[in-house]
């Protein structure tokens, strides 16, 4: 078995030569060096008003990027006004500011080929800016004003609300996306912030005052980490500009809602939406880990082996060997409270039970049998050797640094990440799998045409039939 030998010896061209005797390998290249890249630290500043700034100079192109991470997220929406954070974020720019009308912002930015975009994710809000160096002054002035003094123009607010309502009416157009969203909703419960979605009633409940109050609470300098990279003369010069535009923004207290602990069902449930579509979507969810649990290192390696790419166990068995799916993968999401482990697959209804059984079986297998050393090593090599791609550009790098501080990681998290992965061994993989994978208790979510199913769903556990809405 050449493959086994190849993997046992590791990554170098000699082993390629072993696997493939036809290759002529020059002796000078017989060993591949490790990837030698220590990510630059960049600079970190704190303004008098508490805003944290990460900065990395990069004079290769006449472009400047900024990204502000604002500490909030969809999970902070009030229960009766789900969607408030999203609408507030999207109206920062579109709703104009104290000194700029919405039309003037659009005209200026678009004429300069610059962009200012603000958005809301589950656990973070963002305001991003990209601008050619020559236009920095004009665009930074807009950027600062929309962050500090957004006006939430009433007409733009109505338009955005109407769009949100329209999107709700369209949320089930694509069944594969529907499956992912509804699976999480069933897993965490429809009333928990980790699982909820916007509804017509929650959008309609939002008024203009809510936007202002939301902004006044969360958009404060001491609640923001700003990443900056690009073509400026020096850190001091850029810092002076930022102080001028953002330094007078007063700090203040931010109130965060208390999010109820998650409650995850401890026994198998099958949730099902019956829909006449060509492909069945399968989502398996299991209880995951909290954000700073060091189990993330062995879990990352384990997940890479299980469902991380086209040579992973799930893809190998379900896709390449059996031809049952184009899309099959697993991943895990860390959260402040318990995150989730997701395994997903799309297959025709006639083979849904084969695919689902094999997915569950792969979770059992990795718990039961210690994985071969070379498989664990390959997964680690894959992650360690491609680590450098997290920093493809200076802006990627400095944004990552800002993000890890935002999520509360230790300052050396990125710099020790590779070493921590390298420590993972087969024993850690099986221990982690035994601890975290409980496929028998997994929550299974399926959308598909039951008339064509090869086996009844009830073979996989108690079934709750849901209506699409």
């Amino acid at each position: 078995m050449n493959g086994k030998k190849l993997l046992a010896i590791g990554v170098n061209l000699m082993t390629l030569a072993f696997a493939a005797p036809l290759f002529a390998v020059p002796p000078a290249l017989s060993k591949l060096a490790a990837v030698d890249f220590k990510p630059p630290k960049g600079e970190r500043f704190v303004l008098g008003n508490g805003m944290i700034i990460y900065m990395l100079k990069d004079n290769t192109l006449p472009v400047i990027h900024m990204s502000a991470i604002i500490r909030t997220g969809r999970i902070n929406d009030p229960k009766a006004k789900i969607g408030l954070g999203d609408i507030t974020a999207s109206l920062l720019k579109d709703g104009g500011s104290a000194r700029y009308k919405p039309e003037d912002i659009d005209k200026t930015l678009e004429f300069l080929g610059a962009s200012v975009e603000s958005s809301m994710a589950a656990e973070e809000a963002r305001a991003d800016m990209t601008v050619l160096k020559k236009d920095l002054d004009a665009v930074l002035d807009i950027y600062a004003d929309i962050l500090i003094n957004p006006a939430f123009d009433a007409q733009k607010f109505k338009l955005r609300k109407d769009e949100a309502l329209e999107l709700i009416s369209r949320r089930n157009d694509d069944p594969a996306r529907e499956a992912q969203r509804e699976a999480l909703r069933a897993f965490y419960g429809a009333t928990h912030p980790y699982g909820w979605r916007t509804e017509t009633t929650t959008i309609n409940a939002i008024n203009g005052e809510d936007l202002k109050a939301y902004h006044a609470n969360y958009y404060k300098p001491n609640n923001i980490i700003l990443a900056v990279s690009g073509d400026f003369a020096s850190g001091e010069e850029m810092l002076a500009r930022l102080k001028e535009k953002l330094g007078a923004w007063p700090k203040g207290e931010v109130k965060f809602p208390i999010i109820a602990p998650v409650e995850i069902k401890e026994s198998r449930q099958v949730y099902f939406i019956d829909r006449d579509i060509a492909q069945t979507s399968i989502v398996i969810l299991q209880k995951g880990v909290k954000r700073h649990d060091p189990v993330e290192y062995p879990l990352s390696v384990t997940n890479e082996m299980l469902g991380g790419g086209l040579s992973s166990r799930l893809a190998s068995e379900i896709r390449s060997r059996k031809g049952l799916a184009y899309s099959v993968y697993s991943y895990f999401a860390k959260k402040p409270d318990y995150g989730f482990i997701n395994a997903s697959c799309g297959t025709k209804p006639e083979t849904y039970s084969q695919a689902l059984s094999e997915m569950l079986n792969q979770f059992e297998l990795i718990k039961k049998e210690t994985a071969p050393e070379e498989e664990v090593k390959r997964a680690k090599d894959s992650m360690i050797n491609s680590f450098v791609f997290r920093f493809a550009t200076p802006f990627d790098l400095i944004s990552e640094r800002a993000l890890y501080e935002y999520y509360g990681y230790k300052p050396d998290y990125l710099d020790t990440y590779v070493d921590n992965l390298a420590k993972v061994n087969p024993a850690a993989v099986i221990e982690t799998s035994k601890k975290l994978f409980k496929p028998r208790d997994a929550q299974i979510f399926i959308i598909g045409n039951s008339k064509k199913f090869d086996k009844p769903l009830s073979e996989f556990g108690p079934v709750t039939v849901l209506k699409e809405d």
């Binding site: 890249f37 290769t60 004429f111 610059a114 338009l159 060509a278 040579s311």
Partner: protein, 512 residues
């Protein structure tokens, strides 16, 4: 004027990006390569091997990585009649290894694979016969499964992928379009020779093992598309706008064709089109161009040049009808509109690019201002000057969705009003200047990503004939005058050149 001032400043500023590692011209000349010296363009090194493989190399530094794009001029248009989807299925097969990779020994394996092929052809004949005999078919399928089982024993599973995993790949993928097939991967830059070793073997010695399993994977990919209304809409638009030209066919293939494709078909296709003289390789990143050239000579020079068959396909006859198609699908309404464009070799295309940008570039565009805001008819409204391909005349397209309570018909009327207005009144100079500025800014931002830039260099060289295409297009766009934009809109966005696809919820067809 703004534009003329902007351009030189951009180019000067670009210089430091390359200055550090810019290859010495004399070294390049000794190797027989040429280096772009015009400061309007990045200093790309061009080199062509004797077998016709063209290299485009750009040295860029920050992280020690390199991005590879191997672009072949072969796409869905090049399939024979009845074999749609073959170009794409082959692309999947190109990850299945070679005579050396994924194999415990090709000699034995070949015999086993040939047995699978005989069994598979019998199954296909049985399945596609007018009166399939279920019992006989069952027996044939069993025979095929047994043959596959034997062949699979000789495989080193997923070895090709595993090698790249260990090398530390990022973004390993491939893409097939109507026009081209591209293979991309980024690696730490000290893997340069590893890439050369593996990929030269891949394209010289491909073995299409596990073919029928992968065909099933592609069928699932097709089903995924059938479940997604957006994909269904595009497929329906191309299918109806093109009647004679192969842009009519979906790149994923018609299901009926997929069911009949064989490994023999895919091997023929490979032997016909996968040749060094039908490809461009772009290498962008932390490398030395001289090193890339030497290693490419070492590993790719023995890849034999082939006679690529002349590719003449039925030209799409002028459309002389307004077409409207209702697709019934359980999703909210949306529409796609296509107008035939004159193709990339026709200078009218530049005016059409401007038409599209005036209509839909950003929130100051006409569609956004008047349809999304203004009349509030649309959730979104976009346009693009050329889809699904660029090798042949394709379509100027509009995609939009109505916002309730407005209907598709109201949205269509709103779109038509915008088109008619543009035909009659030239856009303002501000609208055109804005587009040029955006284009220039995008050209700079494009240089940030190694993989994105590599893709664009390889595509533009291999498919449009010039890696500088994006830069020269900028120059052409600057020549467009407001009245040209109206003239192009009037020439191409006409009723007899128009195909519309509306997505309608099935309930409505039953009068509910």
């Amino acid at each position: 004027m703004k534009i003329s001032l902007l351009l030189p400043s951009i180019l000067l500023c670009c210089a430091p990006l390359y200055a550090a590692g810019e290859p010495a011209p004399s070294e390049m000349e000794k190797l027989g390569a040429s280096i772009e010296k015009d400061p309007k363009f990045p200093p790309v090194v061009s080199y062509t091997l004797k077998n016709g493989l063209r290299l485009l190399i750009l040295e860029k530094h920050f992280v020690p990585t390199v991005s590879f794009t191997m672009m072949f001029k072969v796409g869905n248009v090049d399939n024979e009649q009845g074999k749609t989807g073959l170009a794409h299925l082959f692309e999947h097969m190109a990850f299945k290894g070679t005579k050396n990779i994924n194999s415990t020994g090709y000699g034995k394996e070949k015999i086993a694979l040939d047995k699978v092929e005989i069994a598979a052809k019998a199954v296909i004949a049985g399945e596609t016969s007018d009166n399939p005999d279920p019992k006989k078919l069952e027996a044939l399928r069993k025979e095929m499964a047994a043959a596959e089982l034997e062949a699979d024993k000789l495989i080193v599973k997923d070895e090709y992928w595993k090698i790249y995993n260990e090398l530390g790949e990022s973004g390993m993928n491939a893409m097939t379009s109507t026009d081209y097939t591209g293979y991309v991967v980024s690696l730490p830059s000290n893997r340069l020779e590893a890439w050369m070793t593996i990929e030269s073997d891949r394209f010289k010695n491909a073995v299409l093992r596990e073919f029928y399993k992968e065909r099933s994977v592609v069928m699932e990919e097709r089903r995924m598309g059938e479940s997604d209304p957006n994909r269904l809409m595009w497929e329906t638009l191309f299918q109806n706008a093109f009647t004679a030209h192969p842009y009519h066919n979906p790149t994923i293939g018609w299901m009926d064709d997929l069911k009949r494709l064989t490994r023999t078909d895919a091997e023929k296709f490979f032997n016909k089109f996968y040749a060094p003289n039908n490809a461009t390789l772009a290498v962008v990143g932390d490398i030395k161009p001289g090193e890339v050239i030497k290693l490419a000579e070492k590993h790719f020079a023995s890849w034999p040049k082939k006679e690529i068959p002349e590719r003449v396909y039925t030209k799409e006859p002028p459309q002389k009808a307004e077409k409207k198609i209702n697709v019934f699908f359980k999703a909210k309404p949306m529409l796609r509109i296509g107008f035939h464009n004159p193709g990339f070799n026709n200078p009218d295309i530049y005016g059409l690019i401007m038409v599209s940008e005036v209509l839909s570039n950003g929130k100051t565009s006409r569609f956004y201002r008047n349809l999304v805001e203004g009349k509030e008819l649309a959730l979104y409204a976009n346009s693009y000057h050329s889809t699904p391909g660029n090798r042949y005349p394709s379509l100027f397209v509009i995609s939009a969705a109505p916002k309730a309570p407005h209907t598709l018909e109201e949205l269509e009327t709103g779109i038509n009003e915008e088109l008619e207005k543009l035909k009659k009144e030239p856009p303002t100079q501000w609208e055109l200047d804005k587009i040029i500025n955006n284009y220039e800014a995008d050209m700079i931002k494009q240089l940030e990503s190694n993989s994105g830039l590599g893709m664009s260099l390889a595509h533009n060289q291999e498919i449009l004939g010039d890696w500088k295409y994006d830069w020269t297009t900028g120059a052409e766009l600057r020549k467009i005058k407001p009245e040209d934009v109206s003239r192009m809109a009037a020439r191409y966005l006409t009723r007899d050149n128009k195909t519309m696809v509306f997505l309608v919820e099935p309930e409505k067809t039953e009068g509910k």
